[in-house]
């Protein structure tokens, strides 16, 4: 048996950099795309992505809130309602998969996924799914690369968030109607601090952001009365003044200005551009696009750019990715692709066509990351420590073989499969290149091995 070539031809630097930006920000290269981006200039490609307009809004064929949500359903109807929720969740996950795999507006799509984790609203909670299409269309997508204060306000006012974190149920102690119950005595409604806590802990300051239990309670009182219209196909935000706690409130040592709804809005503005929030978002973005333990100076300058731009996300990302002589956009890949990113990059690498995304969604479920079904309000984790274990890699290998053998339902591969070796970076480990060089391997096996290789798990 002939020895494999151990020295791959030295890649030119533009090719290397093109592969890196496509893996980091472009959901992985399609066949031939590395060469195109290398010719165009990898940094130029990143600048263009940062400058490009938001994509057109998503089609309005996505369902609105079904009328049954507002009715008290009979028992036999509930099964049908559950099915409808599953259908909505599936359509949204399919939309994300198709958009990411298409490669159009890749950075925008990355930021949609980023905010979908940061402001996670998960269809795992019953009935949440019905609010998600509008959440996706009017909150996540329009604001993905906009201003953070606008995004934060939009999340706080949207029925999806108001429902998911129970704020619509949070009212001033003893206010409003008594709670109707089917059995037992009526009880006054009261405060629910779920949203307030996550606002401080997950959406803005972070768990060690310097607030206390008392701040959580005062924040919860500031948002009493923030609710949504009932009985509408597109329920809007509504402030129910009668349910608002009118007593003065102090959060983080400062009295909240204004009255009624203004209190919550002022608090959101303050939290959105708080230096602790800036630092935390900068770190989170750096973890998303650079490394699980990103360099401190990069986090610092990203936080500064966030603050000085008033939370402009394009300027913030430019500071993170394009700064200096060795911009981090071109740094060697150090992030483990999460399951969704890896599956999408495998579809792109093989030039696969998705005629029906259900097969791919089943795979994503097995790998533990379906868009829209985050396990908690914290979203899906973003560090290798939480995704890298033997069982997970084995599952990825199974998918790599199914995909390359054309066994994933709803996925069509091109008649001429891409060359497996072209999927690998020039500095791939020797064992990876050697494994692919066995002449007795079939072409699709070689392709599967490349997709399952350590190198293709990285971005």
């Amino acid at each position: 048996m002939a020895l494999p070539q151990t020295d791959a031809p030295l890649a030119s630097r533009p090719l290397r950099d093109a592969r890196r930006v496509l893996e980091r920000l472009g959901w992985g290269p399609r066949p031939g795309q590395v060469e195109l981006v290398a010719a165009q200039g990898p940094l130029r490609w990143v600048q263009d992505r940062l400058a490009e307009d938001a994509p057109p809004p998503i089609p309005s064929s996505l369902p609105t809130v079904p009328a049954w949500l507002w009715a008290r359903p009979a028992k036999e109807e509930r099964k049908e309602h559950r099915r409808e929720q599953h259908r909505i969740t599936r359509e949204l996950a399919a939309l994300r998969t198709l958009r990411a795999a298409s490669g159009a507006h890749p950075l925008h799509e990355h930021m949609v996924a980023f905010w979908a984790d940061h402001f996670a609203v998960s269809a795992r909670k019953p009935f949440t799914a019905v609010f998600l299409p509008d959440w996706e269309a009017t909150v996540l997508r329009p604001h993905a690369l906009g201003r953070f204060p606008d995004l934060l306000l939009a999340t706080a006012r949207h029925p999806a968030m108001l429902f998911y974190l129970d704020n619509w149920k949070s009212v001033a102690e003893g206010s409003g109607r008594l709670r109707r119950r089917r059995r037992g005595p009526e009880r006054p409604r009261g405060l629910n601090e779920n949203y307030a806590r996550e606002l401080l802990e997950l959406h803005t300051l972070g768990a060690r952001g310097g607030y206390e239990q008392r701040d959580v309670e005062e924040t919860a009182r500031a948002f009493t009365g923030w609710s949504f219209e009932r009985g509408r196909e597109r329920p809007g935000f509504v402030f129910r003044a009668a349910l608002h706690d009118g007593a003065p409130k102090r959060v983080l040592g400062e009295r909240l200005p204004g009255r009624g709804r203004e209190e919550g809005e002022a608090l959101l503005r303050r939290l959105a551009l708080h230096p602790t929030t800036a630092r935390r978002l900068a770190h989170k973005l750096a973890v998303r696009f650079v490394a699980d333990d990103p360099p401190t100076d990069a986090v610092d300058r990203t936080a500064r750019a966030f603050l000085s731009s008033g939370g402009e996300l394009r300027a913030t990302l430019a500071a993170l990715l394009l700064h200096g002589d060795e911009p981090l956009a071109l740094a060697p890949p150090r992030k483990l692709k999460r399951p969704f990113e890896w599956v999408v990059s495998a579809l792109r690498a093989t030039d696969a066509e998705l005629s029906d995304p259900r097969g791919v969604l089943r795979v994503l479920r097995g790998l533990g990351q379906v868009p829209g079904l985050a396990p908690s309000p914290a979203g899906y984790p973003d560090v290798a420590e939480r995704w890298l274990d033997p069982g997970a890699l084995l599952e990825r290998s199974h998918f790599a073989f199914s995909l390359a053998e054309g066994r994933v339902p709803g996925v069509e591969l091109p008649r001429v499969l891409p060359v497996a070796e072209h999927l690998l970076p020039a500095d791939a480990r020797a064992p990876t290149r050697e494994a692919l060089s066995d002449p007795t391997l079939r072409h699709h096996e070689r392709l599967a091995l490349a997709l399952a290789s350590p190198e293709l798990q990285l971005r």
């Binding site: 629910n192 290798a384 274990d389 073989f401």
Partner: protein
């Protein structure tokens, strides 16, 4: 690598021929090879979301309970035992399948366990529970991974998380594996050449930095192939064992069934982990019926099913049921409860040294509540986790829980 003198094929042939065993096989890893004597088995069940201790194990003898939460006290709770101060506790009626274990001394409950830090965030609290006090940059972040490292139980399939992704508690154990069903443990390649190439790809390179990203992934992938090998060579039976009718339907039942099957197949399992989700009952928690009751029905069914399926191995088993915190003593405005402090832990197994209510009860008077709202923490959660460490043979619990001066106050398990 330059100038290798060995082709991939000949390397594999050599290694496979020189040993009849698969080349990942580590004889120390096999349960039977540890010599005679007991083979302790630990299962940790983590109730995600902060289980309501007062609902799971209501202190029915505490006069404050009915005052604080009249709507949330389950009717028909099952008498369980008394704390040292005489306060009577009862099991939630959905835990009825556990009653026989309580009666035979195979169940202990800790009614006010928690973190010493006043943390009410799920994510922070779960993090603290799973790290067991280790700093964020500890070389082995998870407490259970440290236990397994200390006892040398770090071969494939010695530690398994029967959940989709590995919990932080097992992070740092290179072989700890997450999978929900044993059927998932098969070789991805259909041809021999593909399987061999896959194995070759995970080969360690001399001189390679172990923390290089691709090297790290290769190392973990190698553990996966080792596990596949073990199932294939040691226990082909495992893949065909029925998951049986003994477990509740749904994901939690499947997870318990997977643990039972791993034990039945004699694959050398030492520690298993199961997540049970859905305990964050902010809204309409219910009392004897409702959201919490449904979760507890699944939990009790899973624990009982596992105990039955293990047969005589139940004597080797210790199950710890833990959660990140308890919930508020009073209901919130939505018929649920919010994040609190002291919660409940359970220990179940064939060789418990204690049973019944096994830690002190702080009481529910207003002055005794933490911040005037939550059950106080009287027992460090790590004292409960240390029972698991001790069960697996770690005597020096301080090394597992850095900074914990708890060895002296450790519970008798």
């Amino acid at each position: 690598m330059r100038g290798r003198g060995l082709s991939r094929r000949s390397f594999l042939k050599g290694s496979l021929a020189s040993a009849a065993l698969p080349f990942f096989f580590d004889p120390r890893a096999a349960g039977g090879a540890q010599g005679p004597g007991p083979s302790p088995l630990l299962l940790v069940v983590f109730l995600r979301g902060g289980a309501d201790g007062l609902g799971l194990l209501p202190p029915v003898g505490d006069p404050q309970l009915a005052r604080l939460r009249p709507s949330l006290v389950p009717k028909g709770a099952l008498a369980f035992g008394a704390a040292a101060d005489g306060t009577e506790f009862a099991l939630h009626p959905s835990l009825a399948p556990l009653l026989p274990y309580a009666e035979s001394g195979a169940l202990a409950a800790f009614p006010s366990v928690g973190l010493l830090q006043p943390v009410r965030s799920h994510f922070d609290a779960q993090d603290l529970c799973e790290r067991g006090g280790a700093p964020a940059d500890a070389p082995v972040p998870g407490w259970l991974a440290r236990v397994l490292t200390a006892t040398g139980a770090t071969a494939p399939l010695q530690s398994v998380a029967a959940v989709p992704s590995r919990p932080l508690a097992l992070s740092g154990d290179p072989a700890a594996m997450a999978f929900e069903r044993i059927e998932d443990l098969r070789s991805p390649g259909r041809s021999r050449a593909a399987s061999e190439a896959l194995a070759w790809m995970t080969r360690p390179l001399p001189g390679e930095r172990p923390d290089a990203p691709a090297a790290r992934i290769a190392r973990v992938a190698r553990q996966a192939l080792g596990a596949v090998d073990r199932v294939h060579h040691r226990a082909p039976r495992a893949a065909s064992l029925s998951s049986g009718p003994d477990f509740p339907r749904g994901p939690l039942g499947t997870r318990f069934a997977t643990v039972a099957r791993l034990v039945e197949a004699d694959l050398g399992l030492v520690a298993a982990w199961i997540d049970a989700e859905g305990y964050d009952t902010h809204v309409r928690q219910g009392a004897e019926r409702g959201a919490l009751a449904n979760r507890l029905t699944e939990l009790a069914g899973g624990l009982d099913g596992l105990a039955r399926r293990l047969g005589h191995r139940f004597e080797d088993l210790l199950v710890l049921v833990v959660t990140e915190f308890g919930r508020t003593a009073r209901p919130n405005g939505s018929g649920g409860t919010d994040h609190g402090r002291g919660g409940v832990a359970l220990a179940m197994g064939g060789a418990l040294a204690t049973s019944g209510i096994a830690s002190p009860w702080p009481g529910l008077e207003d002055a005794a509540l933490a911040d005037g709202r939550d059950v106080a923490v009287t027992t460090d959660l790590r004292a409960v986790l240390a029972l698991g460490a001790r069960h697996l043979g770690v005597t020096d619990a301080d090394s597992i829980f850095p900074g914990w001066r708890g060895a002296s106050e450790a519970l008798q398990g």
